[in-house]
Every structure is written in structure tokens, then in C-alpha cells.
Amino acid sequence: MSLNSLRLPFLVFCVFVLLWQVIVTFFKVPDYLVPSPLQIAVLIPARFGDLSSAFIITGGEALGGFLSSAVVGVAVGMFFSVSAIIRRCFYPYVVLLQTIPIIAISPLILLWLGNGSSAVLCISFLISLPAVIVNATQGLISVEINLLNLFRMGNATVPVILFKLRLPHALPHIFVGLKIAAGASVVGALVGETFAGTSALGAGGLGYSSIYALSQLDTPYLFALILTSSLLGLLFFFAVIILERRLVGKWHDSILGDRLE
């Protein structure tokens, strides 16, 4: 996307914010229901310290959940691709894991790990994991038969086939999983905090702070927290996109297609 193509959406954003300000001011909407944009804009620098510490806590938990789901997800996919027996035994459970609402198991995680960041990280990890496993497995097993024959003609060993053929072939698929996981890990961390967040001073992440702000009817701060959470989600998503461009940008159609215009 060029800067030029961002001009219209930006204009829409300005009009939206302006309308919001006018309506809130004109109808005298109480700020515990809907604060004005100006109020939020003033609040953000004023409570920058609180916001950034909450950002760092939740960001750390989400990053932990994301990275562990990436590593575990790709590793599980590799086992599945190497052995059809292992795949047949366990793959249905991965699909099942996808259908279980992780929120339903959250109380158990809380019971086992106690309140705090490790429980939140665990929830974030579990929510992100299935998408990585499913997409990585798909990519690792969908190698063209003659490419496999080529490696067999070269008497290639199983690890050589895995690392020189299956893994690079699976990269575009793995990135599909990682993009889903990037969003899911942030959601997982935020939701996890509403269960397992700690109230210890300076240890509350964005999710916990949101619940607290709600209980105090501190709606302007709640809005500031929502904006910060969105920023976190965007950051994760773009980090994965940049990594994808570096790793598969030169050779895969999904990336090159954008540049054809």
C-alpha cells in the first residue's frame, strides 16, 4: 500500500473523530458513557506511564504465548509430517483442540498455575497453537510427489528431506498460521488477564486494567486502554508480515502478487 492510497481512509478517520466530538459535546453525553476524543487525547500523555507499563506486561505475555505456539506448533507439524502413524493418532485431537473454547478451560489453568503472568501466557499459547499446527502440517505434508522422488534419487535422509524440502515448502503455510496466531495471542493475553490478571501494584496488564477501569467507571481510561490494546495487536501482525516478506518474499507468488500492479 502506498501513502497515496492511505489518504482517503485517513480523511474518513478525521471526519469520524470530528463527528464524535461534535455529537458528544452537543448532546452533553456523560463522559462515563462515551468520553470525547479530546478527553482521551489529553488522558493518554497524562497517564502514559500506566499505559506503557500495562502495554509491556500484556505485550510480554502475548509475545511469550505467540513464540511458544510458533515453536511448539511447527515442531508438532514436523512430527506429523515425518510419521503418518503419529499424524493419524493425534491430528484429530488438534482439530478438536481448535473447537474447544479455551476460555472454558481457563479456570483449570488458573487452578494449576495460580494467578499471574504464567497463567495468562499459557492461555495465550493454547489459543494460538491450533492454527499454527494445522497450517504447518498442511504445508509440510503437501509436497509434490516428484520433488520427494528427486530427493529419494539423491538418497536423501529423513532430516535432509525435512529441512531442505518440507520446511521451506511449508513456510508460506506456516506464515498463514502465524498471522492467525499473532492476533489470537494478543486476544488470549487480554482475555486471560480478565481471569488471571494480578492486582499487584504496577503488575496489571491491559486486560486487567480494563476490568479495573470499568469497575471505577473510568471510561476515558478504558478507551485509552482499548486504543493501546489495538496498537499491540497491530504491532504483532505487522511484525509477522515483515518477517514473511524477508523469508518468502523473493520466491513466493502470494507476496510477489502484490507487486505486479
Binding site: 520433488l147 522422488n149 534419487m153 513456510l171 520466491w251 513466493h252
Partner: protein, 256 residues
């Protein structure tokens, strides 16, 4: 050469192939090829040509009979043969040079030695200038050249080709046929070439083997006594056209 007492370079006898559902694809097939010979296998789709090639490569197990390549069974002869598939089968994440290098990595060659071999084979097939390109930047004909370069870089003694030019337009196919013969005259490997095209088979081969299907076996063999080296002009000559006609009629007689 075939008159001598030496065992042929490739010798196949009583070969059969059955799938678990009792479907017989190949039955009692016999075939021999001398070292340096260019043999094409012609036949209708589904007559077992590709299966035959995969069995010689050791990629598909045999159900009965025997295959020997220079006295070795296929699984032990992989180091002396290369396979060119119907599609270029290139790794899209590797450059042209990287794709050719793969074959040398399998052989465990040192980095410096690989560089030299890649350079010379890319020059040989006319790809010297595109060594750093990715496959998606190449035309179909160029991709096939990369595939052939990858097969030749290990200086194989047996080249197995499974309809390598089937997906190309006729002009590109003809040019690659001519290039293949030039390369072969310089390196003298033995070739087994599976194709659907009668004129391609006549142009390239020393001998053509006609297969009939259900189950697949050798139906008839034709020596191609056209002079070498062969050039594009050969395709217009009466001797060439008469051979094409003769083999077309034989093929039509199998599948009336």
C-alpha cells in the same frame, strides 16, 4: 555393440508390476540397452511407460523379474543415474544455481568444487546469465533447461527422462531436442526417454520401443538408422518422415 558378448548396460527381463488391488500394469517385459544408446519408449497413456521408468530408477518397487543397470539393482545404481521429470520440479525458494547445486549436495561435494561444476553446466545449457534468477522468473523452456542442468551436473551414465518436454510448445520442444542431442554427443550417457510424440522419438533415438498396455509389455522395436549428428533440417527429410509414418501405423495397429 549389441552383437558383442558384453552384457548390455541396462538389462530388464520378465519384469512385472502389480498393484495391491491385483491390477497388473506390466507383465513379462524385456528390454535391453547398450551403453551410450538413446532408447525412446512410446505408447498410449496408461500403458505403463512411466511406471517402467520409475522402477528402473528404484522409485517404484518391482513385483517380479529383474532390472540391472551396469550389473547393479536400481537401488544401488542411483549414483550413476539422473531422472528428469515431466515437470521441471524445481525448488521455488532456490535460485537457478541453487537448484542445480542440490544434486551436488546429495553427492557431498565441497563448496568450491560445487561452484566450478555449476558454472560449467550452466554454460553448457545456456543459462550462465540467469544463475541468480528464481524459477518463477523463467519461462517453461528455461525451467526445463534448469532441470536438465541439474540432471547433468552429476555426470550421470544413465539419464531417465519422463516426457520432459511434454508441456512445452512445439518450437521450444524442437529446440530443446536439438540441444539435448548436442549435449549427449559430448557426454555419451545412455538415455531412456518416455514420450507421447512420435516425431520427437524418431528425431532423438537410436532405437524406439513400442509398448502396448493392459498389461504393459514391449510390442515392437524399431531401429532408427538416421545419420548423426542430427540437425533441425532432418525433420523435413523423406527418410525421417517415412519412419514417423511407419511408427504411427504400428502404434495405430495396437489401438485400433
Amino acid at each position: 555393440m549389441r552383437g558383442s558378448n558384453h552384457p548390455p548396460f541396462i538389462s530388464i527381463s520378465h519384469l512385472s508390476k502389480e498393484y495391491p488391488n491385483d491390477r497388473k500394469v506390466i507383465s513379462d517385459l524385456a528390454l535391453a540397452a547398450a551403453a551410450g544408446e538413446f532408447v525412446s519408449v512410446l505408447g498410449a497413456s496408461g500403458c505403463g511407460k512411466s511406471t517402467l521408468l520409475k522402477m528402473i530408477a528404484g522409485l517404484s518397487p518391482i513385483s517380479g523379474g529383474s532390472i540391472h543397470i551396469d550389473g547393479m539393482i536400481p537401488a544401488n545404481a542411483r549414483e550413476i543415474m539422473s531422472f528428469v521429470f515431466q515437470d521441471p520440479t524445481l525448488l521455488p525458494w532456490r535460485t537457478v544455481a541453487g537448484n542445480v547445486e542440490l544434486a551436488l549436495e546429495f553427492e557431498g561435494l565441497s563448496k568450491a568444487l560445487r561452484r566450478k561444476r555449476i558454472d560449467s553446466v550452466l554454460t553448457l545449457v545456456g543459462l550462465r546469465d540467469v544463475g541468480s534468477y528464481y524459477p518463477r522468473q523463467l519461462s517453461g523452456g528455461m525451467k526445463m533447461r534448469v532441470s536438465i542442468a541439474r540432471a547433468l551436473v552429476t555426470t550421470p551414465r544413465l539419464l531417465l527422462m519422463d516426457e520432459p518436454f511434454g508441456a512445452l510448445d512445439e518450437m521450444t520442444r524442437n529446440r530443446l531436442n536439438e540441444e539435448l542431442l548436442t549435449l549427449k554427443d559430448a557426454q555419451r550417457w545412455t538415455t531412456l526417454f518416455v514420450t507421447h510424440s512420435i516425431s520427437e522419438a524418431v528425431f532423438l533415438s537410436d532405437r524406439i520401443v513400442l509398448m502396448s498396455g493392459n498389461p504393459g509389455k514391449v510390442h515392437e522395436e524399431f531401429a532408427i538408422p538416421l545419420p548423426t549428428p542430427r540437425t533441425a533440417a532432418l525433420r523435413g527429410e523423406p527418410a525421417f518422415l517415412s519412419l514417423v509414418g511407419q511408427i504411427s501405423r504400428a502404434l495405430a495397429a495396437i489401438h485400433p
